[in-house]
Symmetry: C2
Subunit: 246 residues, 2 copies
C-alpha cells in the first residue's frame, strides 16, 4: 500500500459568550467543512473562556500535537480581547505593535475619517515575529505564528481570513466519503456493521441515527483515503442491508 | 462581601461526524444555556473523535478540574459507539451490563415486538458502579458515574436526559446579565470600556461586535453575581455612551 499523507489540525474557540450560551458558535462547523475539503483532519476542538491561563494552556497543548492550530475570537479592540497577548505568552515572546499592521490600519482609518484610537491600535499588536493574515472586511489582521493561525470570531471575517490562509496550508490525501441510507435503526444493523468494519480496517464506518416522527432510520457513512477500499466496504454494507430486508 | 458559591462544569462532545463537519453540533449551545440558567459556569468544552485514548484523556483532564462533566455522543448500539467503555477505562473500572438497564430495555423491546439484539444490549453496558439516567424517548439510558454525566448525541434525547439530570445538580449563585445596545463599533468604545471594567472588578464586561449592512455596532454585556455591582457598572456604561454621543 502506498504511503498516505495525513495532516491534522486543532481548533481553539476563545470566548466567554460561547460558554455562557449568549452567542451560538457558527465557526466550528465552517472550519470542519473547510479543512475536510482540503484533506486536513480536524482532530480536536476546545472552547475556553477569555482567560489568559486557559488560552496559554490550550494553545501549548494543541500546537505541539497537531500540524495546524486555528483559533477564533478575542482579537478585537476591547479589554476582554486578550488572544494576541495570551498566544505571545504561550510562545514566550513579547506582544508588540506590528509595523505593517500599524501602517495599514492608520491609513484605513484615516481614509474613513475615523480616529485610530488606542483601542483600535490594540488590534495591530502581534506576537513578535508573527505574520499577518489579510482581513479584507475590516482591516484589523489575523495573525500567524509558526503553526498557529489566529482569526476573528465574527463569522464573516473569520471566513475571509480562512480564504487568505488556505493557499499557505499543505493538505493531505483527501478523505472520500460515501453514504448509504438505511431504513432500519442502529439496533438492527449495529451487529453486522461492526463485522463489516472489522473486515475493512482501512475504512472508517460510521452510522448516524435519525429520529423522525417516532421512527428511527440510519445513515451509514464509509470514509477512507483509498477509493477502492471505500467501494468494497460500501458493497458489503449494501449486501448486508439486502439480507436484513429478506 | 458575602461568600459566593461558584459551580463549574465542562462538556465533552464525542464524535467523528462533528469534527468532519458532516454533522453540525446543536448540543453545546443548549447545554451552555441550560447550565447558565442553573447558575453553573460552563468553563470548557472539548470535541474529540470516536477514539478511546482521546476520550479517556479528555475525561480524566476534565473530571478532576470541574465540578461536573457532561458528555454527548457515542452511546448508541454500533461499533463506533465507544463512550461507555472509554469512560470505564478512564475510571479504571470494568464496563459491564447494568442489571436494571438490561431488564428495562428487554421489556421495552419485547413490548414493541423488536428483538433485543446484541447491538442493542451494548447500550445497557455501563462503567461498574454507575447510575442510570432516564431516557423517556428511546429507553437506552444515559449514565452517571461520580461527577461525569454521559448523554446521547441525538439532540432530542440529550435534552430529555438533561431534564432528568437537572434535579440532581447543585447550582451556584446565578449570574445576572444586563445588555446595553451601543451604536458605535468596539474601536470607539473599547478604551473607555476597559477603564469601566477596571473600576468594576466584581463584574465581567464583554462587548460583542455586530457587522450588518457594512456598519458596526456593539452589544455591551455586564455580567456578575451581585445585582448592585452589575447595576453600578451598567450606569457607568450608559454615562460613557452619553459622553461619546456628545
Amino acid at each position: 500500500m502506498s504511503e498516505i499523507k495525513i495532516v491534522t489540525a486543532a481548533m481553539l474557540v476563545i470566548g466567554d459568550e460561547i460558554l455562557s450560551g449568549r452567542t451560538k458558535d457558527k465557526n466550528i462547523g465552517f472550519v470542519a467543512d473547510y479543512l475536510t475539503g482540503m484533506g486536513i483532519d480536524l482532530s480536536e476542538v476546545r472552547i475556553v473562556p477569555d482567560d489568559k491561563d486557559a488560552i496559554v494552556e490550550a494553545v501549548n497543548a494543541l500546537r505541539h500535537r497537531y500540524d495546524y492550530v486555528f483559533t477564533t475570537g478575542g482579537i478585537g479592540p476591547t479589554h476582554d480581547d486578550i488572544t494576541a497577548e495570551s498566544i505571545s505568552q504561550a510562545f514566550g515572546v513579547p506582544c508588540e505593535p506590528h509595523p505593517k499592521a500599524m501602517r495599514e490600519m492608520a491609513q484605513y482609518y484615516e481614509s474613513r475619517n475615523m480616529e485610530f484610537t488606542e483601542a483600535r491600535q490594540r488590534m495591530a499588536r502581534t506576537p513578535k515575529g508573527a505574520e499577518l493574515i489579510d482581513n479584507p472586511i475590516s482591516k484589523a489582521p489575523g495573525i500567524r505564528i509558526q503553526n498557529v493561525h489566529i482569526m476573528a470570531g465574527v463569522p464573516q471575517i473569520m471566513q475571509a481570513m480562512m480564504d487568505a490562509i488556505a493557499p499557505t496550508l499543505k493538505g493531505g490525501q483527501k478523505i472520500i466519503s460515501q453514504v448509504v441510507d438505511c431504513p432500519y435503526g442502529e439496533g438492527t444493523v449495529g451487529g453486522p456493521l461492526g463485522k463489516i468494519q472489522d473486515n475493512h480496517p482501512d475504512t472508517m464506518i460510521g452510522s448516524y441515527p435519525r429520529y423522525e416522527d417516532g421512527a428511527y432510520s440510519t445513515q451509514i457513512v464509509v470514509r477512507g483515503r483509498d477509493q477502492i477500499a471505500v467501494a468494497l466496504a460500501i458493497k458489503d454494507v449494501q449486501n448486508m442491508l439486502k439480507n436484513v430486508m429478506l
